[in-house]
Amino acid sequence: MHDVAAVVVCLIFLGPVLWVAYSAFRPSRDLFTFPPNLSLNGFSLQNFQAVFASGDVARYAFNSLLVAAISSLITIIASSMAGFALAKFKFPGRNLIFMVILAALLIPLQVLMVPVFLVLKTLGWVNQLIGIIVPPAATPTGTFMMRQFIRGIPDELIEAARLDGASDWKIYRHIILPLCAPMSAALGIISFTWRWNDYLWPLIVVNNQDKFTLQLSLANLVGTNTVEWGTLLAYAILVLIPVLIVFLLFQRLFLKGQVGAAVKG
């Protein structure tokens, strides 16, 4: 009984998403009927066709994919390197550096958006995809996760390699990185969804249509009043499906509760 109630309450909670999905497959003319028409003959793909007619959606999708993939890769590499240094080396200022990294990363990008924008302008990264890719790539979550994980790797492995004459870079490359693979995968998957979902950076950094991400182009359409609701809803469904699939496939990773995710992706 309790179980049935749990599922029912959950479905009601998800009502907004389910309703959007349902509406996206309705022809525009009977989008607004209540109670809803649940018969199958009202089913239509015309909204999705309208999405692809609304702009260069394939290009935006490509941009989104590129941004999310490269940014996640940078996150994995930078975090695992920093995690290695913080977990396996003793050096002056280690704790201080760790605290500074955390503190600085806890300052939300929102607060610094204006000067960061001007930094990007100086670098010539405005209106470039690289301007969306790099600034969010340093995340406290990544540094936490990697440091924690690498701490668990036995020191003997590193010592043995060092006695064999391996350089620290080789140790990182051939011991740490392969052993970190599961953690890198987890971080990569989670950070991919964050970067895919990003809206603030594209909004500030990009003006040219050909550099739009999916999020930015959908947001732009929401802002104009000339677009049909059916199109917007179908677009929203297209934009959320990749993230939903990744989430459902790897839900365990997400449900472990990445506390850092609450603060800054």
Binding site: A82, L105, L106, L240
Partner: protein
């Protein structure tokens, strides 16, 4: 080569040669080199902007001509007399005071409801988490559609039930409520997980003992669950406060701060000053004014993380 000092001294006392070969120096520099990418990004996108921000806030910057003129604290004085900024502060405070307790209560309720790990409840946990993985753009689009005054399903239902419809996004109070509800819906799954993690730490024997002593479920909740969850709930309050004070993207799309600035929050006000009205110095001055508050919250958060052994 300050870093080498202690090593060489130690070696000398033991009668070894002072290490001069590059390998030793390389070994000492290695951790810093490994930290370079992270520290580089941090410098470029946190430290430099922070300092640059201070500088900007003291200048009147003309974006079109690229000229700037030193005006001292004028931006800050202007802020004190800016009713829009004042309103946005007030709105942010009200929004935070509504969002944070709602998140605590709702996430607690859901987590207790889903506490036992039966398949159905594990399924429901995944479901409740889904809104948290949706992008702000998707969340705003969906809710804008649901709450649409003429065509939305919420008003459609009210009409069908014979109750008066509500202009959810165009009336001051209704828009404020809508924005809070959307936020709670969006974030509560994440906090539910935190409560569930906290609940799993509570020893079942405590409940058994209370049951034997004749405590009813209500008493068990107040006397056991709530006190044992105190650290978790504290962390949730801090994180939700951070979430609420940074809120911007979803609301920008949902109401654009309207109607009549009723849902204009501080971050939007900054964005507006800098990128719409093109007064970046004035926009940054608002961030700087809020910085002590933000640093305080960040400090609080670090302390809690340490206590909870998250760091």
């Amino acid at each position: 080569m300050n870093i080498l000092q202690p090593v060489s001294r130690a070696n000398q006392t033991q009668g070894f040669k002072v290490p001069t070969d590059l390998k030793q120096i390389g070994f000492r520099l290695t951790p810093y080199l490994f930290l370079l990418p992270t520290l580089g990004m941090l410098t470029a996108f946190s430290l430099v902007p922070l300092l640059y921000g201070f500088w900007m806030s003291l200048h009147n910057i003309n974006v079109l001509h690229g000229r700037s003129e030193f005006i001292g604290l004028q931006n800050y004085f202007n802020l004190l007399h800016d009713p829009k900024f004042g309103l946005s502060l007030l709105n942010t405070a009200g929004y935070t005071l509504a969002v944070v307790p709602s998140i605590v209560v709702v996430s607690l309720a859901i987590a207790i409801f889903l506490r036992k790990s039966t398949p159905a409840r594990l399924f429901a946990r995944v479901g409740f988490y889904i809104p948290f993985v949706l992008s702000p753009v998707v969340v705003a689009t969906s809710w804008k559609w649901l709450l649409n005054e003429d065509l939305g399903v919420v008003d459609g239902f009210l009409k069908w039930a014979g109750i008066a419809t509500v202009p959810w996004l165009t009336d001051d109070t209704a828009a404020r409520i809508s924005v809070v509800v959307t936020t709670v819906w969006n974030l509560v799954g994440f906090y539910m997980l935190m409560v569930l993690a906290g609940l799993s730490q509570i020893n079942d024997e405590l409940y058994d003992a209370a049951r034997i002593a004749g405590a009813n479920p209500w008493q068990r909740f107040w006397r056991i669950t709530l006190p044992m969850l105190r650290p978790t709930l504290l962390l949730i309050v801090v994180l939700a406060t951070i979430h609420a004070t940074q809120a911007f993207e979803t609301i920008l799309l949902l109401t654009d701060g309207g109607p009549a600035n009723a849902t204009r929050l501080v971050v939007q006000n900054m964005y507006d000053s800098a990128f719409v009205r093109l007064e970046p110095g004035y926009g940054v001055a608002q961030s700087i004014l809020l910085l002590p508050l933000i640093l305080f919250i960040a400090w609080l958060q670090m302390r809690l993380f340490r206590e909870e052994k998250i760091i």
